[in-house]
């Protein structure tokens, strides 16, 4: 298959390109125009074609879809204010979707997020899966949740109206090299001090190479469903404490962890919420960890399952979470492409 991978230069994108090439696909890897360095091995590899474009500007992107069988849409904005994230995630998706009618693309894979679920009203230690309700009051949640929800809604509506197959993957926490910390652990205070909010909450981890394989399998999906939503979590979901202990053991200099009990954080967030309602009519700006809906989204103890994705795609996470950490800290390049033919000169 020929895949167009948007956001190919990103953390997940580089791994997806490697996984797609490893599975024998041709990849058109889309990088942003100002990208200064192309990942090693891409320009010479016969299975990779590098193209440049910014999906926030719709013009001139049509040629990128020529000959493409499926799109893996990873481009998104995680930082900046609501409007920057909306532009980089939702408007970019809207522009991409506007190119689909008239193209040969049959399948679209979009990476959503666990952030789209409702957490505040979800009972602690209950199961969170694809059937769980979505955020009830998204405008109380952070920008990431709002934009990811809007993106998903848009993609699913268009898949239904424009008649292409769409797989929305909602990864839990994707971790890997340079991305070992997650907001679900609490807060980093500098590089040496970590505030751990909670202790026993399972982390819905997916190691980046495992996740990348899931993405490629989704692009290959040829089942009966027109729209598919699948959570991506690895087989094991270690507790916050276990994961941090493993990191502490391997990272030098060893960071210090300050544990803050989940019950205490909930209480503090509740107090902040009450104060906001009583004295500021709910208009005060409070740090995310003190907003109950955001705190619960980050740190509530829940159980996770990957039954649906295994059944639909036959996905089997290759690495355990300890192996994931080990590979993340090792010297070898986890995004290296498998050997292939070199491009012939024109």
């Amino acid at each position: 298959m020929k895949l167009l991978v948007t956001g190919a230069g990103g953390f997940l994108g580089r791994h997806v390109v490697a996984a797609a090439v490893a599975r024998g696909h041709q990849v058109r890897a889309m990088l942003r125009p100002a990208t200064r360095s192309v990942p090693a091995g891409w320009p010479e590899h016969s299975a990779v074609e590098v193209v440049y474009g910014d999906l926030r500007a719709p013009r001139g992107l049509e040629p990128m879809l020529v000959g493409v069988d499926a799109i893996v849409h990873l481009a998104a904005a995680k930082a900046g204010d609501l409007y920057e994230q909306f532009g980089g995630t939702v408007l970019a998706t809207e522009n991409l979707l506007s190119l689909l009618p008239g193209s040969d693309v049959k399948r679209l894979v979009v990476t959503g997020s666990f952030s789209v679920y409702e957490y505040l009203r979800h009972r602690a230690w209950s199961a969170l899966d694809e059937s769980s309700p979505l955020a009830v009051n998204p405008f109380d949640r952070d920008e990431y949740c709002q934009t990811k929800l809007a993106q998903e809604q848009l993609v699913l509506e268009r898949a239904s109206s424009d008649g292409f197959t769409c797989v929305v993957l909602r990864p839990g926490v994707i971790y890997g090299r340079d991305n070992l910390w997650t907001a679900r652990l609490g807060m980093q205070a500098g590089t040496r001090w970590w505030l751990r909010t909670g202790t026993f909450a399972p982390l819905p981890l997916t190691y980046v190479e495992n996740c990348a394989e899931a993405v490629v399998l989704a692009a290959e999906y040829d089942g009966p469903e027109r729209s598919l939503i699948l959570n991506v979590v690895d087989d094991q979901t270690p507790s916050q404490r276990a994961y941090l202990k493993e990191l502490q053991r391997r990272i030098n200099p060893r960071p210090r962890v300050v544990p803050i009990p989940w019950t205490l954080m909930r209480l503090l967030a509740r107090l902040a919420w009450l104060t906001n309602r009583l004295f500021f009519k709910g208009t005060a700006k409070v740090p995310g960890l003190l907003v109950p809906s955001r705190l619960h989204a980050r740190c509530k103890p829940l159980r996770y399952s990957n039954r649906a994705i295994k059944a639909a795609l036959g996905w089997q996470p290759r690495y355990t979470w300890q192996e994931g950490i080990e590979r993340s800290l090792a010297a070898s390049d986890t995004t290296a492409l498998p050997p292939g033919r070199e491009k012939s000169s024109p």
């Binding site: 900046g80 809207e94 005060a284």
Partner: protein, 366 residues
């Protein structure tokens, strides 16, 4: 006089409003309009359907559109807020006026003084209001500065300086090389986004209320950081209005960010800082020549400490540098409801637009 005759009991005229442009500034307008009595937003329009719908849901606006002409037809709005990029203002404002709507428009109304004149004449011909957003004039520190100057606390105004330092070259939407911000294509490049603020604040504190003729303009437009993206990243203007000196500064390369209006008079200095709200007054004191510096230093220290805590308090209360926009819109709608004068007048918009043109004129560049 019966209860119903009492002015407080008179029902305010209900006004239907449409918004064109769903970008970042729209959240400030919509957030304020929610709280203005007698105003209801009927529609929001953006070229992007998904942004229009998202904004409508977020602010509980009943209608969303991608074609503003259709929106105006369907909602029957009396007032339209034009919040699109500056290069699109002329066409959209013209259409809104033609549809019989009063227009509140983000700065600058037009990209040139003749453009402004043409739109103003159209508004006049149709007996409609055209009001440019001069929001920073309504921020609390500027109002305190106004009061101090009007009360003669610093004597006769001798010098006015307006300075914005915003490190936008370091990152964010204006520094994005992947998708250059449309404002880079404006006559003053990215500085066009800010130049109206600089101009109206300078004019506001010059004596003679725009009557004095400004001359000896020397405008230094520079691109110190180089590169293709930024046309200019620095502006340094000196000018003379009668005997009053004026200075405008804009820099994309300094830290910390600040937005300061400083007025020097014959009897003192007054400063308003807008990004970290603060007002500071250094007047001539009656405590004698030797004690005056000490008393002024204590007064300055008090203002700075107050501003430090005030800044945190403002953050908690979610009141940023846009606080003046709320007051500007409240006063604008009060004027629309009562038929009174708008808080930003023709003379203020006219003088601002004229000054911006002169800052860009070849003959004034050095």
């Amino acid at each position: 006089m019966t209860d119903s005759d009492h002015p407080d009991c008179l029902e305010k005229k209900r006004i239907t409003v449409d918004i064109i442009g769903g970008g970042k500034i729209s959240e400030q307008h919509l957030g304020t309009l929610r709280h203005i009595e007698g105003v209801s937003v009927a529609g929001i329009c953006d070229l992007s359907p998904v942004l229009a719908r998202f904004t409508a849901e977020r602010f509980a606006v009943p209608g969303w559109f991608t074609d503003y002409r259709k929106m105006l037809e369907q909602t029957g709005a009396e007032v339209v807020h034009v919040l699109t990029p500056p290069a699109t203002h002329d066409r959209i404002v013209r259409d809104c006026l033609a549809a019989g709507c009063h227009v509140i428009v983000e700065k600058p109304v037009a990209l040139s003084y003749p453009g402004f004149q043409s739109l103003w004449e159209l508004a006049q011909a149709r007996d409609l209001r055209l009001i440019e957003n001069h929001n920073y004039r309504f921020n609390e520190p500027i109002r305190r500065l106004e009061q101090a100057v009007a009360a003669g606390r610093i004597g006769r105004v001798e010098e006015v300086e307006v300075r914005i330092a915003l490190n936008i070259r370091a990152g964010g939407r204006y520094a994005d090389e992947n998708l250059p911000h449309p404002s880079h294509r404006l006559p003053a490049g990215i500085i066009h986004e800010f130049i109206t603020h600089l101009a109206y604040l300078l004019l506001h504190f010059l004596p003679d209320d725009y009557g004095s003729e400004i001359d000896s303009i020397q405008a230094r437009w520079r691109n110190h950081g180089g590169g293709e993206l930024f046309k200019y990243d620095d502006l340094d203007v000196t000018l003379l209005a009668g005997t009053t000196h004026g200075r405008l500064r804009f820099s994309c390369r300094q830290w910390p960010d600040n937005f300061t209006v400083l007025v020097r008079g014959s009897d003192g200095i007054a400063t308003a800082e807008l990004f970290y709200p603060c007002f500071q007054l250094t007047p001539r004191r009656s405590v004698g020549q030797h004690l005056t510096p000490l008393v002024n230093a204590l007064g300055g220290a008090k203002a700075l400490v107050g501003s430090g805590f005030g800044g945190i308090w403002s953050k908690i209360r979610n009141r940023g540098a846009y606080e003046g926009l709320s007051r500007f819109l409240e006063l604008t709608y009060a004027a629309l409801q009562s038929g009174g004068e708008a808080p930003v007048t023709f003379h203020q918009m006219d003088a601002t637009s004229r000054l911006v043109d002169r800052l860009l004129a070849e003959e004034n560049r050095v």
